[in-house]
Amino acid sequence: MSTDATDGVGLVRAAMEDLGLTVRAEREQALAAEREALCQQAERLRRHLEPTDEPGRLDLRPPG
C-alpha cells in the first residue's frame, strides 16, 4: 500500500489510492466504518467454514 495504513482511515485512504479512486476526505471516516462493518460480517461467516468448503456460483438447477 502506498501510504501508512495503520488505522481504519489510513487503510481506507491507502486502499482507495491503490484502486485509483479519488479520496474524499469528508467520507473517509464513514468509509472506514462501513468497511469495518463488512469485514465483521465476513468474519462472522468464517465460523461456518472448513478448509474444504469451496466458493461457487449459486446454482439451484437440479442435477443432470
Binding site: V12, A15, M16, L19, G20, L21, T22, R27, A30, L31, E34, R35, L38, C39, Q41, A42, R44, L45, R46, H48, L49, D53, E54, P55, G56, R57, L58, D59, L60, R61, P62
Partner: protein, 474 residues
Amino acid sequence: MDAIDLCYLSLVDVAELVRTRQVSPVELAQAALDRAERLQPSLNAFIRLDGEGLLREARRADGEIASGAYRGPLHGVPISLKDLLAVAGELTTAGSRILSDARPNEDAAAWTRLKAAGALLVGKTNLHEFAFGATSVNLHYGPARNPWDSTRVPGGSSGGSAASISAGVGYASIGSDTGGSVRCPAALCGVTGLKPTYGRVSRAGAFPLSWSQDHVGPIARSAWDCAVVLDAIAGPDPADPTTLGVAASPVAGTLHGQSHGLRGLRLGIFSALGDEYLEPGVRTAFDLAVEQLVGLGAEVTTIEVPEEHDLLDAASVILMAEAAAIHLPWLRTRPDSYSDEVRGRLEAGALVPAVDYIDAERARRKLVPRVLERMAAVDAVLSPTVPIGAPPIESTHIRVGDREVDPRGVLLRLTRFFNVTGQPAISVPCGFTEDGLPVGLQIAAQPWREDVILRVAHAYQRVTEWHKHRPALD
C-alpha cells in the same frame, strides 16, 4: 366502461377483451398513454414515454388480431420496463447520469420475449440510480412518487414500475430484484410483484447490480397477471447460463379454474423475519392475512431458520463487492457522475477484501442447502414484505414503536434473504397501515416452485379485495 376503469383492468381481463375484439390495442395504448402523461408530473414514474412507438405497434397489433393472428394474452397489451432493461437503439439509462446517452445494441431477453408475445411498450420506468437503493429517490431524474401519497417513496429500486401499475398505467411492468427491488415497491404501492427463482428468467440485457443476486420479474395487479407475464419471459437463454438446463413450466394455465382452497398445504411463518422494526399496522395486516389463509384450509406453523442472519451477512458482502466490481472503471473516471449516496456505497464495496468476498460465497454455498432443507418442512413460507409503510421522500429517520430507524435500512430487511437463497417469492397486497398505506404479504417457496407461491397468492386474492383498491388519483 370509462377510460379509468379500462386502465385498471387486470391483465387477464383485458387480454380477454382484446382476444374477443371488444377493445382494441389502439384504445388500450391511447388510454395508457393519456394516463401516463397526465400522472407523470405528480408521480414521475417514467424516465421516458414512447407514445409514437406505442401507437405504431398498437396499430400493428390491431391489424394482426383482426386478421386472426392472435398471439396470446399479451398481444396488444401495454406494459412498461424498468429503465435498466435494454431496448435496442433506445435510451436505457439505468437511472444514472453515466448511462444517460446509452443506446444498447440488443434488447434485453425479457423484452425480446414480451415483444414476441405481442406486448406493447408504454415506456421505461424510473428507478433508484443503478438499482442500488430501495427508495427510487433519483437525483438525476427526480424521485418516483407513491400513488397512495405522493410525498412518500414508492419503494425501490423498481419504484417507477410499481407506481405505474398502482396508478393504472399499463397492465404489467418488468422490474429487477437484487434485495427486494420488485417486492418492496410492489408492497408499498399496493400491487403484486414476483421475484422468480434465480435462473428462471434470463438476466441478459438487464444492467447488473450483483450478478449472483439479480433477478428479473414482473409487477402487475394480481398473482394471475404475474403468472401470465412469467410464462412469457421464463425459460432457457444461452445468453444467461444460469437459465440453462431447466425447462420452462408454464403456470398461468394451472391457476385458471384452480380450486379456491388451500387444504393440505403447509405454510410456515418465517419467525426470524419481521419481529424487529415491524410497524403495528403491518403486523395487524399480516396476522389477518395468515388467518385468511388458515380459513382457506392451509395448515400454518412457524419455521425457524437459524442461518438467517449469517446469510444476510453473506448477501451484504457479496452485493457490495459485486456492485463495486461492476462500477470500478466509472468510479475511477467519472466519480462525480454518481449521487453521493450510490457513490459512497460503491466505494465501500470496493474496499471489501477478496478473501471476504470468497468466504461469503463459501458460506452461501454451504448454508443455502441447509436452509432449503429446513424449509422443506413446509410448502411455502410467509412474512410481511416490508416492515413499514412507505416512508416520506428524503426521510432519514422514522419512528417505529419506541425506536428511531433509518427507513433506507429497513425497507429490504425481509426480502433480501430470498435473493441470497435464490428462492421464488411474491408480494401481494394484504391491507393498509393506520396511515392508509399499502402493506404486502410475502410468500416464498422452494426453488422452481413458482407454482406454489402463485397458487397461494391466487387463492388469497380470490377471497380478498386488497389488490383491487385504487389510490385517489382521479
